[in-house]
């Protein structure tokens, strides 16, 4: 198969995503008061409603409706005042009633948009000139959201007796209804994505947004956030869509990128050989790095949708929507802009700190402890050092940043300090002192060393004066050696330069 970059020169990939997110931070299920399950024994959290017992009736969880309205507002959707729940029928025992309660043509949230900033290597995936690129090749891709609707999750089935728990060849299947009825929101994008990188970024941005809203733990690994991709190819310049395939089993950001990359290349090969892309559902196999056919869709499924008579319609009031709006915290884009404006951070650093709400909160707490005058150092530490550690406190990072800011330690020493204090309550400043790592910047004490080195290394001094400025590094090294590591290299650098130039 050809490489992605080569394929995308001739072909345009048209990608749409369907993203299911469980509202894991709620206490109870969508239509009953059973607890949400995390690692419970099978059929622990069940009641007549979520088991679909005859005679049971649903009552919508108000907090779930608030959550989806918040999700809609945060993704610039129109909040539809009037909408209803519908019944979507299919016979499969993971849905206890053999219908899923979901929404019909009108969802709570319609017609939203998220703007993606694509930069670096990822931006190179898009060779076409339909987007305006900046000097570094980066661009902004506006991705329209068709809708976000509210529904309920299905039960978990375990297939027994087949290969690797797969359905094929299984002798029987066991059903656990703990997950059945978990509040689920489904977001459907317009087919506006053009590269695997854009798809990956969209999912990341969506995840950051939902995490910030606090409506879900958004774990692709555990399946609380799940993504299906629809993909088709068309020749560059063509306006008609090609036949699309649907990709399932995408459980990491890398899988999303790699599965789409594979599928684009596979479809291109089929088309270039004069073959036909069939409308089918394909399964991503991460271990074999390929997609395989799960099911060919000959006709559209007929789900016999109709408005659920057991559930009253919704006519959301301004008051309800305003209440949801007031609960939305500062979103990642706004936070990034604020970090840039208030602290003068670089866009990429600000975006990294603002993206994850726990990182942002850590950063802001650290900054409060370290003082805003050290913001540049704090940001540098947060971006470059902190991600390697799992158990640092904001106070420790603030202290460390202070040491770096006053040149008491080097960046290399900072790692050593963090290695030592990670997971303890020890203050980095105390650690540095206890281990004699604090570097002197006292010009009197350091001046003697500088003079000694200049007197000793006459050759290098001459080379410097002849124009070889690089030799300064050697002289700094000599000073450091003479100071037995306790002198600050920046201070030596400055003093040597002054004396040599003077």
């Amino acid at each position: 198969m050809k490489k992605l970059a080569e394929v995308l020169k001739d072909w345009e990939a048209v990608i749409g995503l369907e993203v299911h997110t469980e509202l894991t931070t709620l206490e109870t299920k969508m239509f009953c008061n059973c607890r949400l399950s995390h690692d419970d024994e099978p059929n622990t959290n069940v009641c007549p409603v979520c088991l679909g017992m005859p005679g049971a009736l649903p009552v919508p969880n108000e907090k779930a409706i608030e959550s989806i309205v918040m999700a809609g507002l945060a993704t610039n959707c129109q909040i539809m005042r009037h909408s209803m729940f519908y019944r979507k029928h299919y016979f499969y025992p993971d849905m206890a009633k053999n219908f899923q309660t979901t929404q019909g043509p009108v969802a709570f949230c319609m017609h939203g948009q998220l703007d993606l900033e694509v930069s670096g290597a990822g931006a190179k995936e898009r060779p076409d000139s339909t987007v305006e690129k900046d000097a570094d090749g980066g661009y902004v891709a506006p991705i329209r959201i068709l809708r976000i609707h509210m529904e309920e999750d299905a039960a978990k089935m375990v297939h027994v007796g087949g290969e690797e728990g797969r359905i094929g060849g299984a002798a029987e299947s066991l059903i656990d209804y703990n997950r059945c009825g978990t509040p689920l929101i489904e977001l459907v994008t317009e087919p506006d994505l053009r590269t695997p990188e854009e798809a990956r970024l969209f999912m990341e941005k969506l995840r950051q947004t939902f995490l910030t809203l606090g409506i879900s733990d958004c774990s692709l690994e555990s399946g609380s956030m799940r993504c299906d991709g629809n993909i088709s190819l068309r020749r560059r310049g063509e306006t008609k869509f090609g036949t699309k395939t649907e990709m399932k089993n995408i459980n990491s950001f890398k899988s999303l990128h790699d599965a789409l990359e594979y599928e684009i290349c596979r479809q291109a090969e089929v088309l270039e050989e004069g073959g036909i892309v069939y409308q089918e559902t394909r399964h991503w196999e991460p271990s074999r790095r390929r997609t395989v056919v799960m099911r060919v869709k000959e006709t559209a499924d007929d789900y016999r949708l109709f408005p659920d008579p057991d559930l009253a319609p919704f006519d959301l009031t301004d008051e309800f929507i305003d209440r949801c709006r007031s609960r939305i915290p500062e979103l990642p884009d706004a936070k990034r802009d604020r970090y840039m404006a208030d602290f003068g951070l670089k866009r990429a650093d600000a975006a990294q700190l603002a993206g994850d709400p726990t990182v942002a909160a850590f950063f802001e707490e650290t900054l409060a402890a370290a003082g805003e005058k050290n913001v540049e150092t704090v940001a540098k530490v947060m971006v470059n050092l902190v991600p390697s550690y799992d158990a640092l406190t904001p106070a420790q990072v603030a202290s460390l940043s202070g040491l770096l800011a006053e040149d008491a330690i080097t960046f290399a020493q900072a790692r050593e300090v963090l290695d030592a204090v990670n997971g303890t309550s020890e203050d980095p400043a105390a650690y540095v002192d206890a281990h004699g790592m604090r570097q002197s910047t006292d010009e009197g004490a350091l001046g003697a060393i500088v003079d000694e080195v200049l007197a000793r290394c006459t050759d290098q001094v001459q080379q410097y004066r002849d124009g070889n400025k690089k030799v300064l590094g050697f002289l700094v090294g000599q000073c450091m050696k003479a100071a037995k590591g306790s002198g600050n290299p920046k201070a030596f650098n400055k003093m040597l330069a002054e004396k040599l130039e003077g």
Binding site: P48, L51, G52, M53, P54, G55, A56, L57, P58, V59, P60, R87, H89, F91, P93, A96, K97, N98, F99, S173, I175, A300, D302, R304, L305, F306, D308, P309, D310, L311, A312
Partner: protein, 502 residues
Amino acid sequence: MANFDQLSAREIAAGVANGDFTATEVARAALDAVEARDGEVKAFLQVSADLALAAAEATDKARAAGEKLGPLAGVPVAFKDNMHLVGTRTTCASKMLANYESTFTATCVQRMLGAGATPVGKTNMDEFAFGSSTESSAFHPTANPWDTERVPGGSSGGSAAAVAAGEVTVSLGSDTGGSIRQPASLCGVVGLKPTYGAVSRYGVVAFGSSLDQVGPFGRSVEDVALAMNALTAGGRDPWDSTSQPVATDFLAHLNDGVEGRRVGIVPALMEAAGLTDEVRDAVTAAGRALQDQGAELVEVELPNIASAIAAYYVIAPCEAFSNLARFDGVRYGYQEPGQATLAEQTSLSRAHGFGEEAKRRQMLGAYLLSSGTYDKYYYPAQQVRTLITADYARAYEKCDVILMPAAPRTAFKFGEMSDPTQMYASDMFTISNNIVGNGGVSVPLGLGATSGLPVSAQLQGPAFADATLLTFARAIERSNSASDGSGAPVAPAFAGKGGELA
């Protein structure tokens, strides 16, 4: 001492409260009457003697402890077998649920028990409430106590027959297209279908979710009013989204006069094809009786009511298909043994668990909801529903209640109506009220001049005017010289058989 079948619910509750007799004595009398009478009537699918005696004992203990007793203290009641009661099976008169053990108790049942009622058992019905004769019960037919060669009507035929035969004082039924009012008419008892939402549907196996409503049967209007108080006094049911509060004391205005109030007559309905002369004459006489008490008869039109049956036979099968999809033999219900695959197990369990009419209705619903067909029938049927609702709203600008027949004719013989679509027409006077959701009550008018079988009138009213319906029903009852104005008699063949209060 008296036979319990001669006592009204109020008299029993008062007798128990005063210590004239104990709840246990009444329970034993009722069980004795069932023993003596039900071999012939076959109103019951299950007699819950243990539950009845335990409830009665609890009532007697409460009295001994000086506690205030409920308004239905010691009153023997029966529940249609689509209502869950823990400690009983809930079969819906279907092989599908022949062994289904209730896992929770329906709100309506719980409220009757909470008012002190004694649960005597579960009554026969048309399978899943599909029918108008109780002949489609998978277990056995129920006889009309006035002529045991004839049907009791349906689908709540067992509940109507149990009250008519004096086996219980009050019973509950459900009415989707006339299933309380038509059997009440055929069995000569009072049967009220309250306004949709007045009584909780939680725990009642659904047939048509936008049409179903639970209501009481009694031999007097007062007993029905007492039961309505028990069913609604607890306020709306938070477990039923369509439940609404009813802030009415149904006894308070029971004996109000009707002078100066207006009773609507729909001329077209009084001349409807299929309406027998004896029923027409009896309804006309009931109108005159109201006139004699000072009410004014006014003509009103319901121009779209002729389409109610068609609208109903779109909406009801669609909802039935959806509601019965859950019966797949996995979580509960009949499971075809020895099947190698899920698909075979499901379709054979459904084929063999459901009776003919249940399969017909689901097939019709599955067809009507299919894409393309939905727009031809389902959506327009719901639009016609709007027109019929508007017809009634206009009519109630001119009158307080509408007087019409409940059933076109008296009880027919077993097997007499064999064509399902012919059977559908027997609900011609009741169905429109389910379509719009309003309340309706069937009031006994003694025996028909020709057949010698019970005939009745139906009163329909605007939404949540169910207490007004009972005021008018009481006015008709008061004028009935055959029963000296105190309510309908127990069918003579069964009156006094067993049931003596020891």
